[in-house]
Amino acid sequence: MTTEESSQTGKVIEIDDLSLTFETSDGPVYALSDINLSIEQGDFVSLIGPSGCGKTTLLRVIADLEAATKGTISVNGVTPEQARMQRAYGYVFQAAALYPWRTIAKNVALPLEIMGIGSAERKRRVQQNLELVNLGGFEKKYPWQLSGGMQQRASIARALAVEPDLLLMDEPFGALDEIVRDHLNEQLLSLWAKTNKTVVFVTHSIPEAVYLSSRIVVMSPRPGKIHDVIESHLPKQRSLDIRETPEFLALANRVRDGLRAGHSYDEPEL
């Protein structure tokens, strides 16, 4: 069984020669081209690149929200569709995507209701995950009564309530201010260090990618492809201060160089 093999090797995501082309009225758009990537259990992988490089599309392919046109991809040893059917992952969108007519607690309970989880267990998980993201006491509030940062934390609690081993996060902190973003980065990192979950994280912020990741995938646009994969050997437990260390700055520079190189052929046209 492929499932067993993959659990032995600890491979969560395997992508081989994957391409995705959108057919539009203006002709084909090559969103992803020849992507090869494997992600192991416990990895924190950031996909970084300029807009249009396909990083979100790649995440959506993993989540079975888009289908690849070429190549193979497996998630937990099965197809993304089967993985989605098994509710193998939690997905955090760019916007919090909370249902405005549900309280925070009810929003977090939504996936559990759909999965048919009993009300006692539901209550326990809602409570536990809201406390994990520091939203204890906000159960009865509606989304509009919360700040953007709190809404995004609620959406993370909602993804965690499913108790997935795999978290897919699409620029979850993109719309937040620097201070809130730092704070949430710290929380996410400590959560990851505690739980050994696998995280695939889309961002366009270099410091965020370097601070969070065990591996950074630098992507370049038109067609969207992987330009560089950078291993980070920063310790799993990191404080925000690590951003001042030479190791961190060296990694950040490598990411920046990768982004620049991937971008460079774009410039002459301007």
Partner: protein, 296 residues
């Protein structure tokens, strides 16, 4: 709602109402003047002043345009002073029209919701139903109302139902249009979320599509309830109905009782306004219950 915003809402309404009343009086004077002059001339009496003329236009028995206070008096006489069981009670007639309007509105809303669900969930139906739904509203209701009532009568359906049918025919339309829009309203990320949970179509309907359509539903229902009233009145006209606001309009026009016509019209618009306000209030309560009050 705090008292300040209540007065803020009331003042513009009062201003507009006063302007309408003023224009109404001016119009009444001009439109009834000719008859008044004619009266004096027939009596060979040239001894009249402008004041006589103007005051005369306010108290004719069958004015071209009754003055507001005449209509108000008539409404008061036929509602407060008449027993509800009396054939001259406007409340009795309103009740008859209201019951068929409400029945038709209820049926129309139900039909509208069901059609909208069918249209949203079935692409073929979307293509085949929608043109018919729109075509149904291009037929003048006055033309088909008598036929509908005659046909229904022939198969033994009488009384409330044929009139309610006309109301339903008019009121299902805004509900279909509003609900199709409402059921398709959820944004992409809200739908994708359901997909990541591997939610069934039924779960997506109950937990996402239906709740997000409710504000649209109440907006449509406000329009639907107002035209259900129109439908009920129109349905009373061609059948020579003996009771109902439509029957009052008809009888009034037979006998040139303009005051009676106008009081039935005023009653109909008061009822329609109350119904629309009631639906709006229910909508607001539902929104508040759903935590959407800040958006509404």
């Amino acid at each position: 709602m705090n008292p300040k915003s209540a007065t803020n809402n009331i003042i513009p309404v009062i201003v507009v109402l006063s302007i309408i009343l003023l224009l109404w009086y001016v119009a009444a004077v001009f439109m009834n003047m000719a008859w008044e002059k004619d009266q004096y001339e027939r009596a060979d009496n040239q001894q009249y002043t402008l004041v006589d003329l103007v005051s005369g236009t306010m108290k004719q028995e069958r004015p071209v345009l009754p003055a507001p206070h005449q209509v108000a008096q008539e409404v008061y006489k036929t509602t407060v002073e008449k027993k509800i069981t009396s054939k001259r009670s406007l409340i009795y007639h309103s009740g008859i029209t209201l019951s068929s309007a409400l029945l038709g509105f209820g049926l129309g809303t139900l039909l509208g919701i069901l059609l909208a669900i069918a249209i949203v969930y079935n692409r073929a139906l979307n293509k085949s139903f929608m043109p018919w739904v729109i075509a149904s509203q291009t037929i003048p209701i006055l033309a088909i109302a008598p036929m509908v009532i005659v046909v229904l009568n022939a198969i033994g359906i009488q009384g409330l139902l044929p009139k309610a049918f006309i109301s339903m025919y008019l009121s299902f339309f805004p509900v279909v249009v509003g609900m199709v829009k409402g059921l398709n309203a959820p944004e992409v990320s809200h739908r994708d979320l359901m997909k990541t949970y591997n939610a069934s179509a039924a779960q997506t309907f109950w937990k996402l599509r239906l709740p997000s359509s409710l504000p649209y539903l109440f907006t449509s229902m406000k329009i639907a309830v107002a035209i259900a009233m129109v439908g009920a009145i129109v349905a009373e006209l061609p059948t020579g109905a003996v009771a109902g606001l439509g029957a009052r309009l008809l009888a009034g026009s037979y006998y040139g009782q303009t005051i009676q016509i106008w009081s039935a019209l005023v009653m109909a618009s008061i009822l329609a306004a109350l119904l629309v306000m009631f639906i709006g209030l229910v909508g607001k309560l539902v929104n508040r219950r759903m935590g959407l009050s800040s958006h509404a």
